[in-house]
């Protein structure tokens, strides 16, 4: 905290804007600490309180707007990506979307206080076609609550900032260890995935040009082209390879039990 206050004194509003914007974009940056420090700096007359509020709100709304537009333009790709680790991605997507649909408006107002949800709510609102005006109103309420809460804490407790800074340094060391362990855990997970998927690398592949040529030569009767996207059908206007059929990966063996073994099966996902 002490370091943040010192940095804020030197670089002031630009640093505050950067910290808040980065957190709004989903990066692991401690914007709450930045706001507390900025609030304390305001109380000590190093920064102007009204400028802290305006800059923090602007940076937060800008970051959220970028994610909102990203959600709007990518449809369900983002949610599909986030649900990839679930046991049943299809169910994860449906449940998440329905839950946000029921509680989305309230969620947007309080999401900033919940790590993870704070960067998920704006793109979900975009994916679900919330109007930008409505999103902005709700997000502004949420941003005001968040900024005033943390900057207010800094402002009110500026007199005991050194004590808080000491505690923050201790917490900071614990956080560093946590981040290191989380990073090692992530590396181990990637190695595990690589090891688990190694058997899939030997599955034969076909280039799209070669397959297109087979289809053009009239070999459709000898083959099945199958779409195995588990979450590809949630946007109106979705397309697929002409003549292909859908296989639901979670219900695979029941679907193919009567298929002839003499046909070639070509599979694709996104």
């Amino acid at each position: 905290m002490g370091e943040i206050v010192s940095l804020l004194e030197k670089h002031g509003y630009a640093l505050l804007a950067l910290i808040v914007f980065c957190e709004a974009m989903g990066l692991p940056v401690p914007a709450a600490l930045g706001l507390i420090a900025a609030g304390a700096a305001s109380a000590l007359h190093h920064l102007r309180a009204e400028m802290v509020l305006i800059i923090a709100l602007s940076a937060m709304l800008l970051g959220d707007t970028v994610l909102f537009i990203l959600g709007r333009s990518t449809g369900w790709t983002l949610l599909g990506f986030l649900c990839r680790l679930a046991l049943n991605p299809e169910s994860c997507i449906l449940r998440s979307a329905e839950s946000f649909y029921r509680r989305g408006r309230t969620t947007l107002m309080f999401a900033k206080f919940v790590p993870g949800i704070n960067s998920l709510a704006p793109p979900l609102a975009g994916s679900m076609r919330m109007s930008y005006g409505q999103f902005l109103r709700l997000d502004l309420i949420g941003a005001c609550l968040y900024t005033i809460a943390y900057a207010g804490i800094g402002y009110l407790f500026s007199g005991v900032i050194e004590a808080i800074a000491g505690a923050a340094r201790t917490v900071g060391r614990a956080v560093e260890w946590f981040l290191l362990l989380a990073f090692l855990g992530y590396l181990a997970y990637r190695v595990h995935l690589y090891w688990k998927h190694r058997k899939y690398r030997v599955v034969p592949r076909i280039q799209v040009a070669e397959l297109a040529q087979k289809l053009a030569e009239g070999e459709q009767g000898k083959m099945i082209v199958a779409d195995v996207r588990s979450h590809g059908y949630y946007d109106p206007g979705a397309t697929r390879i002409k003549g292909s059929i859908r296989i639901e990966p979670n219900n695979l063996l029941a679907t193919v039990k009567d298929w002839p073994r003499d046909k070639e099966i070509y599979l694709y996902c996104t």
Partner: protein
Amino acid sequence: MREATSARVAHILREHGFDAYVIHGGLRAWTKGSYPLEPVPQDDVVLLPSFR
């Protein structure tokens, strides 16, 4: 891993005696190559809730 789902499904199908292959690059490569596409049939479309 890219093509994770199709590779996994192809692997399972091959284990069950099917002659299965993965289309390298998936739908993205097919679309990029300007090969023919068609709309996903309405029966297969699962539209999620929308605020509009």
